[in-house]
Assembly symmetry: D2
Homo-oligomer: 459 residues x 4
Amino acid sequence: MSNTYQLNPVGWMSQLSQLEVNQLATSASAEHYRVFRNCCLAVLNSGVEQDDSEALFEQYKDFDVNLVRRERGVKMELVNPPQVAFVDGKLIAGVHEHLFAVLRDMLYMSSKHQMYTELGTSPNNNEQDGALITHMVFDMLRHANALSSSEPSNLIVCWGGHSIRIDEYKYTKEVGYELGLRGFNICTGCGPGAMKGPMKGAAIGHAKQRNKSGRYVGISEPSIIAAEPPNAIVNELIIMPDIEKRLEAFVRASHGIVIFPGGVGTAEELLYLLGLLMHEKNADQNIPLILTGPEDKKEYFEAIDAFIAATLGPKAQQKYQIIVGDAPGVANALKAAKQSVLEHRQNNGDSFNFNWRLHIPEDFQRPFDPTHESMAKLNLHLDQDPGSLAANLRKCFSGIVAGNVKAEGVRQIQKQGPFELSGDPVLMKKMDALLQSFVAQGRMKLPGSEYRPCYRVKV
Amino acid sequence: MSNTYQLNPVGWMSQLSQLEVNQLATSASAEHYRVFRNCCLAVLNSGVEQDDSEALFEQYKDFDVNLVRRERGVKMELVNPPQVAFVDGKLIAGVHEHLFAVLRDMLYMSSKHQMYTELGTSPNNNEQDGALITHMVFDMLRHANALSSSEPSNLIVCWGGHSIRIDEYKYTKEVGYELGLRGFNICTGCGPGAMKGPMKGAAIGHAKQRNKSGRYVGISEPSIIAAEPPNAIVNELIIMPDIEKRLEAFVRASHGIVIFPGGVGTAEELLYLLGLLMHEKNADQNIPLILTGPEDKKEYFEAIDAFIAATLGPKAQQKYQIIVGDAPGVANALKAAKQSVLEHRQNNGDSFNFNWRLHIPEDFQRPFDPTHESMAKLNLHLDQDPGSLAANLRKCFSGIVAGNVKAEGVRQIQKQGPFELSGDPVLMKKMDALLQSFVAQGRMKLPGSEYRPCYRVKV
Amino acid sequence: MSNTYQLNPVGWMSQLSQLEVNQLATSASAEHYRVFRNCCLAVLNSGVEQDDSEALFEQYKDFDVNLVRRERGVKMELVNPPQVAFVDGKLIAGVHEHLFAVLRDMLYMSSKHQMYTELGTSPNNNEQDGALITHMVFDMLRHANALSSSEPSNLIVCWGGHSIRIDEYKYTKEVGYELGLRGFNICTGCGPGAMKGPMKGAAIGHAKQRNKSGRYVGISEPSIIAAEPPNAIVNELIIMPDIEKRLEAFVRASHGIVIFPGGVGTAEELLYLLGLLMHEKNADQNIPLILTGPEDKKEYFEAIDAFIAATLGPKAQQKYQIIVGDAPGVANALKAAKQSVLEHRQNNGDSFNFNWRLHIPEDFQRPFDPTHESMAKLNLHLDQDPGSLAANLRKCFSGIVAGNVKAEGVRQIQKQGPFELSGDPVLMKKMDALLQSFVAQGRMKLPGSEYRPCYRVKV
Amino acid sequence: MSNTYQLNPVGWMSQLSQLEVNQLATSASAEHYRVFRNCCLAVLNSGVEQDDSEALFEQYKDFDVNLVRRERGVKMELVNPPQVAFVDGKLIAGVHEHLFAVLRDMLYMSSKHQMYTELGTSPNNNEQDGALITHMVFDMLRHANALSSSEPSNLIVCWGGHSIRIDEYKYTKEVGYELGLRGFNICTGCGPGAMKGPMKGAAIGHAKQRNKSGRYVGISEPSIIAAEPPNAIVNELIIMPDIEKRLEAFVRASHGIVIFPGGVGTAEELLYLLGLLMHEKNADQNIPLILTGPEDKKEYFEAIDAFIAATLGPKAQQKYQIIVGDAPGVANALKAAKQSVLEHRQNNGDSFNFNWRLHIPEDFQRPFDPTHESMAKLNLHLDQDPGSLAANLRKCFSGIVAGNVKAEGVRQIQKQGPFELSGDPVLMKKMDALLQSFVAQGRMKLPGSEYRPCYRVKV
């Protein structure tokens, strides 16, 4: 016998027209629906620390979620949900909100934007495409009510590994605490590790400053949410359709970015951002970017810095600042930059909550689908302009993330073996060294499982 | 030299994407834009009592409104606006809100729904059309934030003349006061007279009950807002594209309806509602409907009642209750019905804030364009089913309202003389008598001008 | 059979200790209790316009109010209360609040301050007495939560007659409206006429500016509340023990004062204030004071102005500004002064919500008890310093107010005939002329009863 | 050169009369002021974990705090304050609030209650004394705004050691988390260890349930606040004058009590509460009491339970429930009792936020001053009624707490050596065993210092 729970809609989803409910119920393909169901399951496991989505799904094979149509809108019906999400038979309020965020972003917004796409784009009109993608990113943040903050210029995006050591984790908490004390809100990829620490720290900082409107924004994507389910602190959950839109959401919504130690995902994020910031149209952009970690992680950042120097060059190095072992220093640097970020927006007539002026080349916006073929074809040579090289390196790391933890990627690796990467020998050597250091430092997967590389560097 | 004022967007309009701003700026045709400009002018004259839109427009020939595009969205620029809307050089906050409601409903929503129309409808698919119209009505109320009321089942729609006598006006205030004391909110057509009195009264009632969240919802339409500009109390302004969608918005949003003395517009509203309520699909609808006025207006309601009896029959008479000279009685009757209205919604899974189950036949939804030709062609014979008769009578009164106060209608009458109405002699005689009584009682126009009928009944 | 209603305490009164409840229940003497009961009755008649307290009390002879002690505090029990205060058997929320304001100010605060008096004062220590009186005034405003306004410098005290003509009333509404549009809150004596108009106007002004935190502060006293029950708009009611503390509360809480046409009460208020402002210790005080009325009331203010010139001299005339027929002008003048009022407080380290620095001589603080003897003894000669003369004239007018509408004063007049006033013949002639003009203009009592003077000027 | 910071008053202290400011500034004796200064210093060290107040004070010898009188009230001036309380030169908001709580409770309330005492009590009127003490406890909670909670019956008092092991600490967090998930608020003695853990856990629980109004009430006393400064989570700080009033505040404000492992202080609390609950007048009291700790602390509670059985007997044992290793079980037990606690208050007309009906015998209310003499004189024999025995044992443990961590007690011990305890040999043996187990388990002092007993049991 199965246990079922019906949930009333909250937020934007509590006001749907019958037309929209119909679209919701009919638009999702079987595959699309399976992904939606898995995301719901991940959200119901909020706070459970495990990055093996297969294992998670295995436990809850008989879980299902149905949409129940009523005259007044739509309810969600959970079948055999994990009991960890319930207290005295009642779903935890935050999880309830997150489930409807999943419904909103994965079914409602996707059917809405399909319409836009049908209407608005011709296959050859690239300029238009980019504008449409940005519109979609904006529209998703808007429906998630993430753009109406009354106190502007205070959202700090924190990137870093989901699998980090306890001293690194503590340091991310300290940085979050110092940011919270100074009135900053936190946005992360919404999983464990460096995605959780800054939020936890900021929550204490906000409490000490009697700030009850602290925001802990988690931006995820369907293919990774199961491996990195939203932590307990996230109070705004947004699920972007793919990593490219997720990255665009991060950078356009942020007023400053902190990068903690991490693995390939973090490297992808850094390369994405450097690729943008080096673009000539972004010469006047003002995005404070700080790489930071505990005192004894100095070498880690030196290695990253050296890799950037060797690949993208010294111009890229000017775009960030490295601070080690100084949590208040990180927060002070962002506080010091805040006023100029705000003025930059004002002077350019730009929004305080969405960086419209930032130019994102199409190559960074279009989804990269990592397959053995596309990975093998990546142009990983040094004789290209730094922007293109950054774009290609970003894709390369993105593919490795997929092979490590995203369900589709993991499946491909299981079936066809590791991705093969080839290119300029000098570059390949450097990449190999960097990747091996991530493996050695345990940054590829959460402890408890041995890491088997999903890639092979052909040197 | 012209005075210009730039206004920052508020509400939904403060979060537009660049794509939407582009659409906004390019979608409006010259004619569409002229209507938009006139609505802005009407809103800037909020609270000025005058129903001669020509005279109003004449005074402010050099007024204009521009949309100013910025990275972050859109500003409105007012050129030579009426000074009555300003205090110490600053636009009154309520007027500011209303201007952006005009922009939202007239440009943003219209361009949004054009897209829906292009996608969703085929010319022959009538069922679909009706659903699309209802979706649009819902979507407009939703964007106006008019559907999220936390305390449900308390919105009373008040209809009645814009030109009523002082004793009638006082009575509408008393009814509003008693409704306000009992926690009801008020929705009207948002102009003077019976559209203002209930709001003023309710404001005092709410104040005495220390209720700070009183809602005074005004639903207008572009073609009438200049003749009936929103009164000072309206704190939610919505401008539906035409009278048919406006009427649909009224009835779907309401939890009870009060009809005060009025002229042809009020007759149109009553016939519209009776036409719906007599439809077999609406047999189980629960919409409390009360006709009321001061003690000495007994004959007025007897005349209306007799007209209904003679045209739509006794079944129609069962749908309403007449109460004269008893303001607390009106409020008590609605209070008594409130619980059952709420239960009816609950039992049917319907929304508390939007009556989805109410069936509105296409003939009531499709815009009726009153011209000399369409008015002459109306089937005004008694040998049709009461629903059709109600629909035709509604259109007939609707046309007379247009000829009296709507710009386009007034122009036609000026050019081609009065509309000619013909049909069953018995019916025509009754109509003539009713219309003449409206004229005699001064219900056609505000005092100060002599009324010249815009119609001629061919008996 | 009697109807009884039990009311739960609200505000400060909802958190009493058992000790305080005991004091409350035992401290009030029979006489004290009778006054308390009458005030409750007056509050229950909120909004009823009648200034004949005898007639009011006559109607509700069987009304009573009891205090019901419970472990957790005190309830009020109403016996046979006027039904006008109830809606569907439930007491109107605002009246409920007012009743507990009466309990708070008349029983709780009085027993609290009796204690202070016993401890703190010796009969000969006048300096101390004054400080104690000011402390008490402050403490009563504090317990009424009237001092915590977050937006400072915006409370305008409006004085003027309870019995004024319709054109004057409309003008007070206009001034209130213009004040409300500019963000000012209103404080009056809380009855009808000029005490109601500015509040009504401001309520509309606040609504148009979407200001939901408008304050309508009514400061009354036990002996007059029955004759001038709080109007429907008052949302903060405070009952000071006597006219002297009431006047002190007005001037210390205000950030500007407007005087509309009125009778002897208004004259008392003007003389009180001028007496203070002419004191050398108040030379640097910044209290904007405006005398205003409709255009055709120019002569009225000229007469007042001439009386001031002839009695207190031109230095007194410099303390006020007369503006006629210009409601926006009045509001603009106060707006213009606002910044300097605020700065004056800041520069002197004074509170924004309570003018501590204003010096109030003992003679203005000590209660004046008008009897035939004390009235006859008043020094009404011109050969005294203007401050003393102002104090004496203030007392004289105060006594006439008592003889007109305060229960105790009315009783004395009924028993012993009119007060006899004597003094300098020139002065007496001027006073007589002024008083007779008040009579002629109907400012002594509400219409409907003939005015029989309660004084006789011995010229 | 000294650094000074001026602080504007917040909360109740922002609205003082000049009379009150004068009292504040003059009432405190030099000794009283020294204690006040030390409490401020403790609060400024919020979150620093150290229970050696001497060491703390030593570090900040040049710290001082002054009251600065202004017309509008009082400011605090900090001289050379610890920089840990500042962020970018600005005092942390929560610490700012706490400093004014110290001022309110230690100077303002104490001078207020001195007045009460002078007026209200005669030395022989014991009944009166008790009522006055309760009034004072109530009044202090009221001024701290701790009694106005809108959601009643949800304050759980958590008692337990300030020095506990990491596994015990984690368990207190888990219990707090489960309480927070169920909507309970937390009240503790406001220091580290078991006083901090439940608050931290509840904060996460509240966040997950989107509850932004979580209360973390810390009730301290001047003589212990330096040893146990308020942790970072406390958002309501109240400082009762002595341990007896502090205990009364705990039990009257609570809706349920949880006791975690602790040392003598915790034993004092348990004995105090059992003493009350065994009183015949409290036979019908409904105060859920749960002793709980991690699974492996079973023996600890068995020892306590055995000590209670041997001293107060089986009737005392019925007053509590022991639950080990089951955090959700603790929360569920309190949730299950909640409704009946609420009903008990309602049925008895008692306050939801202050348990007036609980009878507290004078012997538990009067301050016990532990000296070598008073400790030696304690009646520690078994041949007395359990209530008296509980009272005496409570005093005995209270004295040991003083000797361990309170400044005055520590000084006495340094000067005169350990307290000597004597009594019934059987009882003394049991006590000695219990105390030695506390020593052995490290519960007497925070780690880092060796514990030297402040008592000697004469067996």
